[in-house]
């Protein structure tokens, strides 16, 4: 059956206004990809192009002394290199504190442990919890399972060294946005299936879950916004190579492939109504409910991918920013 695809939902007016004047500050991923060529070279070019966009050099990770920030090199997956964890401990909360284990975004191909971290430190300060951010290897240089295995290894280390870090191993929430949301969901699946750490919750912000890249929303929003179907294709191909979209993709690469979503920690899922990932996010939540699981879902009208981080002052972004805070407060409440 061939669907007639409807027109894209309009962007929220404030988001549209911000985009209208963003100009050269918006990375033009479509243009970068259109150049074609070797995936590794393209990924490197993307990283250069997006460096300014993804990194805020002025961000104060200590939040004016509220956090002590340190880095640790810890054991990676079996036979793989060590990984770096960035650890932010609140100074004014007595240990052990809860912890947000943070997995950054960037389409599986860009970003580092600092990407998007500042947003989480704000809420962590409010709640008096620590944040541990993992530096995982990126595709295409390091295809699946390298990224998710790194995330899982960092999680294991964090839980095993909880006492040393002054965190409570029974109060770990795993969190991430975009590709980080997908890796977060995958890490939660790994933790369940391998009998790993019990997690208090999984926070999936506009998560990248489905390598098949052919949902209605992906097709409806093709060519629109920061991370459209073409960009998504690049990210998934980088992670999975020829296996992308085929019959044999692991749920730990693309959580939408999991056939059993029961027994997972409570999920928070949000997404914009005007983005590629809308339908896969809604579907993932629906399947958790159908398995008798716990999930909170928010779909924000007229939101493009990553809108609340990119245009934080807009009214819809403020509302979207409040929702995970309220959820974390409930989840992490003593």
């Amino acid at each position: 059956m061939t669907d007639v695809i409807g027109p894209p939902p309009p962007f929220d007016p404030e988001l549209a206004a911000a985009i209208a004047i963003a100009g050269e500050k918006m990375p033009d991923i479509g243009r970068m990809l259109a150049r074609g060529g070797d995936a590794v070279a393209t990924a490197r070019a993307l990283r250069d192009e997006m460096a300014d966009f993804l990194l805020d050099p002025d961000a104060d990770l200590t939040r004016d002394g509220a956090f002590t920030v340190s880095e640790r090199e810890v054991s990676g997956p079996d036979g793989a290199p060590d990984i770096t964890l960035l650890i932010c401990r609140p100074n004014n909360a007595p240990p052990p504190v809860g912890v947000i284990y943070f997995v950054h975004g960037g389409g599986m191909v860009v970003g580092d442990r600092f990407t998007g971290l500042a947003n989480f430190l704000g809420v962590a300060e409010e709640l008096g919890v620590a944040v541990v951010s993992v530096e995982y290897r990126l595709a295409p240089e390091h295809p699946h399972p390298a990224p998710v295995d790194d995330c899982y290894a960092g999680l294991l280390w964090t839980v095993e060294h909880a006492e040393e870090l002054g965190v409570d191993p029974a109060r770990v929430v795993i969190a991430g946005g975009s590709a980080g949301g997908g890796l977060t969901a995958a890490t939660a699946l790994l933790a369940k299936d391998r009998g790993g750490p019990a997690l208090l919750g999984q926070l999936l912000l506009c998560p990248m879950l489905d390598d098949r890249n052919d949902t209605y929303s992906a097709r409806q929003m093709a060519g629109v916004g920061l991370w459209d179907q073409t960009a998504n294709q690049f990210g998934w191909s980088a992670l999975l190579g020829d296996a992308q979209g085929g019959d044999d993709v692991s749920p730990y690469a693309a959580p939408a492939r999991a056939t059993d979503l029961s027994g997972l920690p409570p999920a928070f899922i949000d997404v914009g109504s005007a983005e590629t990932f809308r339908d896969e996010a809604v579907e993932y939540a629906s399947r958790i409910w159908r398995a008798g699981g716990i999930a909170e879902l928010h779909v924000w009208p007229g939101g493009f991918h990553g809108f609340s981080g990119i245009v934080p002052q807009a009214a819809v972004s403020q509302a979207a920013g409040q929702a995970p805070r309220a959820w974390l407060r409930r989840i992490l409440a003593d």
Partner: protein, 334 residues
């Protein structure tokens, strides 16, 4: 992640900054954003808190530099830069800036005030008498003395030196729109969103604009598979096609090319959409993208439809002929 909007206040007051301010508020008006987003835009672009206080309408909005609504509103400082809603009126919009003015303050105030005026007029109490569509129709009537039309425009609240245009709609009376987004009668969502837009000009020239708008309306389509084509057409983009509208109508005899379109249309459901896409796309490849079919599918279809039409539509001459045939076909409808 950096805020996209940034702080234009730190930017030199060059043409680029002015253009951005204009673009920002234009998009808000286009998206029918309310007062809060407009005041928020002023605050964020100017880099200081902003407020709107309209005593007469009992409206007050105060937004801080981070875009948050603040209830704590005291008296405005007379030294703050401010703008009235209408010329020579009392100030209603303030930037809460002590010290030297920012480089884009004046532009921000002007555009935000214009946008706020449009919202206030739309939403807060224009009296019913001013909504009388009959008054608007008089403005379009060239037979009515220019003095009378100006007097009625004045009563409707259209400034004498305003730049305005006529808008023709299907099954509805026409309306007048000003360059800053105000509309008479007030904007309503109509079920059929097709519109012909007349050229912009002085109030006394509205009859000319109205005639252009009605011509433009005849070139509109429903933007559906059955009736593909643009829903909104601007008279001043018609060029020579407008001449065709004078000589072709529902009662004139169609030329053979129009019969060819009619024949092709009944041949298969995809034909009309395909023809319109080919006539209006810069290349066959973009036409294929618009139609969401593969390039080779399009080529196949074109072969078929050219056979039915009887001429090639893959060369410039044939495409011009096609474009004219579609335009004429449409003009025969109404």
């Amino acid at each position: 992640m950096q805020e996209l909007v940034g702080r234009l206040a730190r930017v030199d007051p060059d043409a680029g900054a002015a253009v951005k301010v204009i673009a920002y508020f234009d998009r808000l008006v286009e998206g029918r954003a309310g007062l809060e987003p407009i005041v928020r835009g002023a605050a964020v672009l100017a880099g200081c808190a902003a407020r709107l206080v309209d005593e007469q309408r009992r409206v007050q909005v105060r937004i801080d530099v981070h875009g948050r609504v603040r209830g704590d509103i005291g008296l405005p400082d007379p030294d703050w830069p401010s703008a009235p809603l209408v010329q020579d009126g009392p100030p209603v919009l303030w930037l809460e800036r002590g010290g030297p003015a920012g480089p884009v303050d004046a532009m921000v105030l002007e555009r935000a005030a214009a946008a706020a005026r449009a919202v206030l007029e739309r939403t807060r109490g224009r009296s019913k008498a001013l909504e009388d569509p009959a008054s608007v129709e008089v403005l379009f009537d060239a037979a009515v003395a220019a003095q009378t039309r100006l007097a009625i425009a004045h009563r409707l609240g259209i400034a004498e030196n305003a730049q305005v245009r006529a808008v023709a709609l299907i099954n509805e009376v026409g309306r007048v729109e000003s360059a800053d987004g105000a509309s008479w009668p007030g904007k309503r969502r109509s079920t059929d969103r097709r519109a012909g837009i007349g050229p912009i000009g002085d109030v006394v020239d509205l009859p000319v604009s109205w005639s252009g708008a009605r011509t433009a309306l005849r070139f509109t389509a429903a933007e559906t598979a059955q009736d593909p084509g643009p829903r909104i057409v601007h008279a001043d983009q018609l060029g020579g096609l407008a001449v065709l509208a004078d000589v072709i109508g529902p009662d004139t005899d169609p030329v053979p090319d129009v019969h060819a379109i009619e024949r092709a249309k009944t041949d298969a459901p995809w034909v009309l959409a395909t023809l319109v896409a080919v006539a209006t796309s810069p290349s066959l490849r973009t036409a294929a993208t618009t139609l969401r079919v593969h390039h080779s599918t399009l080529q196949e279809r074109l072969g078929h439809v050219e056979h039915v039409l009887g001429w090639s539509i893959r060369d410039p001459q044939g495409r011009l002929r096609l474009h004219l045939a579609i335009a004429m076909w449409r003009l025969h409808q109404r």
